[in-house]
């Protein structure tokens, strides 16, 4: 039967895994191998995708992918309640790998020639997604990188120096499940490890999900780079009655294994000591061979060793470890085959060897290699891991998921939660804090104004300080609480683990627009800031989905536009400000959907890539992390207010106060700004926005959206805007601001991710759409 035909709660054993290419490889890497047992947990509200429990964790995949997998129904997989998985064995003395006085590498240069004292040591921090790498990175380096509870928070390398060891640098790599490149972030990690040659690897393994995590560990060990395993989340494992026989695991794997809890900073000092030792003495993994001559007649074993011998000379020349190269060639990895530069004859010989192995083993090449690794892992975990009871965290997650991903409750919950986020931000908590902030700024401006008058400051300088700087910076500063609030709620969604559920629940809807469920995460982050949102699109496994998501991100109204909406909504739509702001967010989403549909039928034809994702347990975010995030957001905003907005305020004040002969003008209409902006104004005449001051504000918004408000504040001064513009024209202006070109930081990020042509395309497309929509508003209302 097909996997998609299973009933909820039914268990099955995988018989075959169909499909092809990188997706199939990814499914195998995630543990969907023939022989593996799984249980169907649930379907998403619209019947697709589905969630299965395999190797002790939850994985989501679409029905179309599940159709490619055949299974045979089995009795219910017994829960691991108190199951003593570890085989009883005699006490094993600690092998002492990676410890002073124990030199396990027999090669003489290993312990006679340690790296010279003071030589720079580089550690690559590698592990699966969402296993706590960034938490450990923060503990090791004292950095403040954002930590999330969503697979793929880290999308770029992050560098740091280990506290107290200035010579030791750590690189936090994006999370990967295997060294087979599936997503662009996995390519980033793989390239770093293979091309940059770090001195050693710190492999972080989630102790609550050892089987799947060790799959990457084995591939890292094949690279022959000195390595230490940090067994993270040991506190949770032990709290639920599980444990790991560290000595046994260390001796079986041949690398130091250090149990830690990165979140509680337990075991981290010991980890550093081991890591420094193996790096200085270049102690490589004692074991790199995971195939067994007796396994199914030794088909895989003979195949891999034959390829190793055949390609040894090429591996040496290409500086690629031969064991790693043999496994990748056997899996059909084209990147490795090209890097080795094998001759046609050698390629054909390799192919013959693999075909022979497939016939003997009864599995195709990819499945056979994945099976070989999981067989070894199973043997290791059987001897070393005492499985815990179902953890409190998992039980809690299952209960919460009954509501948040339930068939009838998932979508209403999503809308209620998102509605609550925006209501609390704009109507209650955020608005109250904003009023408080406004009073403080007003008081400070008043006091400063009186002081300048008392000190008899010249009118021009007085105007510069109050009308230029205070008015410009102050108008924007007042929105700090709203922005921090929205970021706070968005990060709570991510840190608790709900963001991954949103992806699961909305996948089917997004697929109709040509996107994958994973895109929703990048798009939701776009409500905070477009820059991290564009970066987050790297977690998408296909270039098509990534491009499409990036192009749609600017339609999600970022927090920098909040000051514009709030400024005009309060003046022109009193009592209905919340409604107007809500309408703007909806318009952004609707126009985004329309553009997505057009793109799907034109430049991005084809189907979105499959949706294979891990669902993490719900976790309560740490107060320390939340406070750190809030402070980061507030600091970033303040930095922005006192740099780009401060500069823009002074420049705008200067241009509107002086004419081309640098004489102070009596009438602002004679200023430099009025003359220049007046030339562009006719373009905006059809929108009812032909006023040069509006045009100036819109142009300044290209630097940062908040400057639109500060510029308007400086240009209109005490003028009553409601007497100059009608509410319809202002609504058109708000729609234009919502949709026109993203700020320079977002454009720069798009350029970096997709190239200059796409960045130019975004600017032109957004401006054109904004103009058309604002024009339509004027026409309709």
């Amino acid at each position: 039967m097909k996997l998609s035909e299973l009933k909820i709660g039914q268990s099955a054993r995988i018989e075959t895994v169909g499909g092809e290419g990188v997706l199939r490889q990814h499914l195998l890497d995630m543990g969907m191998i023939p022989g593996a047992e799984l249980t169907l947990v649930q379907f998403a509200p619209m019947g697709d995708p589905m969630e299965v429990r395999i190797h002790g964790y939850e994985l989501t995949l679409r029905i179309a992918e599940a159709d490619e997998i055949t299974v045979e129904s089995i009795e219910h997989i017994p829960a691991n309640v108190g199951k003593q998985n570890a085989e009883e064995s005699v006490q094993i003395e600690h092998p002492g790998l990676g410890e002073g006085g124990h030199y396990h590498d027999e090669s003489p240069e290993a312990h006679t020639k340690p790296l010279p004292a003071g030589q720079r040591i580089t550690f690559a921090l590698a592990g699966n997604q969402n296993c706590g790498k960034t938490t450990l990175f923060n503990q090791l380096t004292g950095a403040n990188q954002h930590v999330g509870n969503f697979p793929g928070v880290t999308v770029e390398h992050k560098y740091g120096t280990i506290k107290g060891h200035p010579e030791a640098q750590v690189i936090d790599l994006p999370g990967i499940y295997s060294l087979s490149p599936y997503t662009s972030e996995e390519v980033v990690s793989r390239r770093y490890i293979l091309d940059e040659h770090p001195t050693a690897i710190i492999n972080i393994v989630d102790a609550t999900n050892i089987e799947r995590n060790l799959y990457l560990t084995l591939q890292l060990m094949e690279l022959g780079v000195p390595m230490v395993i940090a067994l993270n989340i040991m506190d949770e494992l032990e709290a639920n009655g599980g444990t790991v026989r560290i000595n046994k695991m260390e001796s079986l794997l041949g690398v130091p294994v250090v149990p830690i809890s990165a979140m509680k900073n337990e075991g981290v000092d010991e980890l550093i000591a081991h890591a420094l030792h193996i790096a200085r003495y270049q102690e490589r993994p004692q074991r790199q061979d995971f195939c067994h001559p007796d396994d199914h007649g030794g088909a895989v074993h003979r195949c891999l060793h034959a390829i190793m011998h055949l390609t040894e000379d090429h591996c040496e020349r290409a500086n690629i470890p031969s064991r790693f190269a043999a496994c990748k060639l056997a899996e059909g990895d084209k990147m490795v085959a090209e890097a080795l530069g094998l001759t046609q004859n050698e390629l054909e010989t390799v192919e013959h060897i693999i075909v022979q192995m497939e016939q003997e083993r009864g599995l195709d090449r990819q499945a056979a290699i994945a099976d070989m690794r999981f067989q070894f892992i199973e043997a290791v975990t059987r001897q070393t891991v005492v499985k815990p009871q179902e953890s409190r965290e998992h039980l809690r997650s299952r209960r919460i998921d009954r509501i948040l991903t339930g068939r009838w409750t998932a979508l209403p919950s999503f809308f209620i939660i998102m509605g609550l986020v925006f209501y609390l931000t704009f109507n209650t908590l955020g608005a109250w804090l904003q009023d408080l902030f406004q009073s403080g700024i007003d008081w400070f401006t008043e006091v400063s104004d009186q002081a300048l008058t008392r000190w008899d400051i010249a009118p021009a300088v007085h105007s510069l300080i109050i009308d230029g700087i205070y008015n410009g910076v102050g108008t924007v500063l007042v929105f700090l609480p709203l922005i921090v609030c929205l970021f706070f709620f968005l990060s709570m969604l991510e840190d608790t683990g709900y963001m991954a559920r949103i992806a699961f629940v909305t996948d089917k809807i997004l697929r109709r627009l040509g996107l994958s469920g994973r895109s929703i995460v990048a798009l939701l982050i776009g409500f905070g800031c477009s820059v991290p949102s564009i970066m987050a699109s790297r977690t998408l496994p296909s270039e098509r989905d990534r491009r499409m998501t990036i192009l749609l991100t600017p339609f999600m109204s970022c927090t920098a536009k909040i000051p514009i909406y709030a400024f005009f909504a309060a003046a022109f739509f009193p009592g209905r400000a919340g409604l107007v702001m809500g309408a703007l967010y909806v318009i952004g989403i609707v126009v985004g959907i329309f553009v997505a549909l057009v793109m799907k039928c034109t430049i991005f034809r084809g189907e979105p890539v499959p949706f294979v994702m891990e669902l993490p347990n719900y976790r309560l975010p740490l107060a320390k992390n939340v406070m750190r995030l809030l402070w980061d957001k507030a600091r970033d905003f303040l930095q922005r207010a006192f740099t780009v907005i401060f500069l823009a305020s002074i420049v705008v004040w200067f241009l509107q106060t002086f004419d081309f002969h640098l004489q102070m003008v009596e009438n602002v209409q004679d200023s430099i700004l009025a003359r220049v902006a007046g030339a562009v104004a006719p373009l905006f005449q059809p929108l009812g926005l032909g006023d040069w001051r509006i045009v100036t504000a819109l142009v300044s918004g290209f630097m940062a959206k908040e400057t639109v408000v500060s510029t308007l504040g400086a240009l209109f001064g005490d003028a009553v805007l409601t007497e100059i513009f009608s509410p319809v024209v202002i609504f058109g202006l708000l729609v234009f601001c919502l949709l026109y070109t993203p700020c320079v930081a977002a454009i720069a990020t798009i350029r970096r991710e997709l190239g200059g042509r796409w960045a130019t395309f975004v600017v032109v497309m957004q401006c054109a759409i904004a103009w058309l929509c604002a024009w339509a508003v004027n026409l309709i209302l």
């Binding site: 477009s530 740099t643 930081a745």
Partner: protein, 44 residues
Amino acid sequence: MNLQSIILLALVAVAFLVVAYRYVKRQKNSRGCDGCSCDCKGCH
């Protein structure tokens, strides 16, 4: 223009130049992605 006005104007001018210099320098170092309310310190 009296002395206190000149001092104040000079202070604003110096602040403007320092902030502008640092802003342009950071923009160059961070390939344009700077000053945004985002997490991407990795690219800074």
